[in-house]
């Protein structure tokens, strides 16, 4: 059984799979890889089932050593310099590391979250059926610290497949356009603000993490005043705080929220939200 020894985790390295749906009624969010498409892709590239645990590496500056045995791996999501023993590795493709090889993920040039899958998956203990780290509830494997040894699971049945890597696209570097569905409290906002959500540009603020991405733009104004009794939200919900600024709630977002949700980012577009950077422009369109 091979292992991955993380020498430098970079800004934040977390073990994630596709999350733990079904526990929201107990106050537990779905969590899981923010860029679900990237997690599935990276797993498929090395022949894993979609739901195997991967490492989600924020920004880069990550270095890890493969130990004990030859291991296939693949990097998806964030797009940047990936090197094995100092030699460049093609992104979005399976590659083979020898025992002792060192993998470096440099600063991402496009997107902000790398997904590193290893053949066999990261084998950490499960919590409520998932290996995902929930940063808000502090559930699941602890954030990876220097020197952490991660076990790698058993070889999956499927072989490493030949996949046309042209099918995968790196994250957008310019403005990102996201498709929106109506939110449960759209009617709490003025008609002008409901139009402005789609017609005006938004900018990703510094307050962007796995809980939510706060946007900055012309404030949205409400038609209905008063407090909303807290209600359940889903990942992608765009809640609007009292100052009129919207926040896109993500996988680790609270199960319930007391701010009205004006619209909901489609699941397909949510992967793009996982890759936006502070300062990047966001526009919305109707799904």
């Amino acid at each position: 059984m091979s292992r991955l020894v993380v020498e430098q985790p970079g800004a934040l390295a977390l073990v994630e799979d596709l999350g733990r749906a079904g526990f929201a009624h107990l106050g537990v969010s779905r969590s899981g890889a923010l860029d679900r498409g990237a997690a599935k892709l990276a797993n498929r590239l090395v022949g894993n089932p979609d739901g195997h645990a991967v490492l989600e590496v924020l920004v880069g500056g990550f270095r890890a050593r493969f130990e004990d045995a030859e291991t296939w791996f693949a990097v998806a999501g964030g797009w940047g310099p990936v090197a094995l023993d100092g030699r460049p590795v093609a992104p979005y493709a399976a590659a083979r590391a020898r025992a002792g090889s060192v993998l470096d993920l440099g600063a991402a040039e496009r997107g902000i979250r790398y997904v590193l899958a290893v053949r066999g998956g990261i084998d950490e203990p499960t919590v409520l059926g998932s290996r995902s780290r929930d940063t808000l509830a502090a559930l699941g494997p602890e954030p990876v610290t220097p020197g952490r040894v991660l076990a790698i699971g058993a070889e999956p049945a499927a072989s490493v497949p030949l996949i046309d890597q042209d099918a995968a696209f790196p994250p957008a570097s310019g403005a990102v356009t996201l498709a929106l569905l109506p939110g449960p409290r759209a009617d709490w906002f003025t008609d002008a603000s409901r139009r402005a959500l789609f017609d005006t540009p938004w900018r990703v603020s510094e307050r962007a993490d796995r809980v939510g991405v706060r946007l900055v733009g012309a404030p949205l104004t409400r038609r209905v005043e008063g407090e909303l009794a807290s209600e359940a939200t889903v990942p992608g919900s765009i809640q609007v705080a009292g100052d009129g600024q919207p926040t896109i709630l993500l996988a680790d977002g609270p199960v319930t929220g007391g701010y009205p949700v004006i619209a909901i980012v489609t699941p397909a577009a949510l992967d793009a939200v996982a890759q936006v950077r502070p300062g990047q422009e966001v526009r919305f369109r109707h799904a």
């Binding site: 749906a21 079904g22 526990f23 929201a24 009624h25 107990l26 106050g27 537990v28 919590v127 409520l128 509830a137 559930l139 569905l181 109506p182 939110g183 449960p184 409290r185 009794a229 807290s230 209600e231 359940a232 939200t233 889903v234 992608g236 919900s237 609270p254 199960v255 319930t256 949700v261 909901i264 489609t266 699941p267």
Partner: protein, 208 residues
Amino acid sequence: MSRRLLPSGETAVLVECDDLDEVLALHDALVADRRPGVIELVPAARTVLVGVDPDVLPLESAITWIRRVPPASPAAAAPADADAATIPVVYDGDDLAATAHLLGISTEALVAAHRAAAWRVAFAGFAPGFGYLVCDDWPYMVPRLDAPRTRVPAGSVALAGAFAGVYPRQSPGGWRLIGRTDAVLWDAQADPPALLTPGRRVRFEVAA
């Protein structure tokens, strides 16, 4: 009973009720008649979120189910007291005296009322295993602290608004603390992991 269905994405719908009693009744009804493909049933103060796996239960079918679900039988709606959670409490919370004073009653009267009340878990939130407890006969509205504590110890028994609650673990919090318990509110390895699941009856008693 009026049920207003509000959109909540491709795989969920938010059902709005007139009040918490209707939420509890609808939640009971949906639990009693649960269909394959229902992934989440999340009650809150005025709403129930129904989340589905659309490959098993298309959202349109779920909406039809929600509109037609029969009321739960009284037996199902009021599970036997045998299933009730009993939580032993040491009533020595930092806010106990001040809270009783705010309500214009004695400390003893507040403790007695808290113990006598037949609580029920209305919904969860805030943190894993944090249940919002309600009781039809509980007459008190308790204002939150003006300045929330940055650190509330695990097991703190607290009041806020019309709700009672217990902090499953150390966290920030603005509820008023009236006591503490050794009861395990959250154990991720247990099934279910939370002691206080929506719909469950709860009694507080003086710790031995």
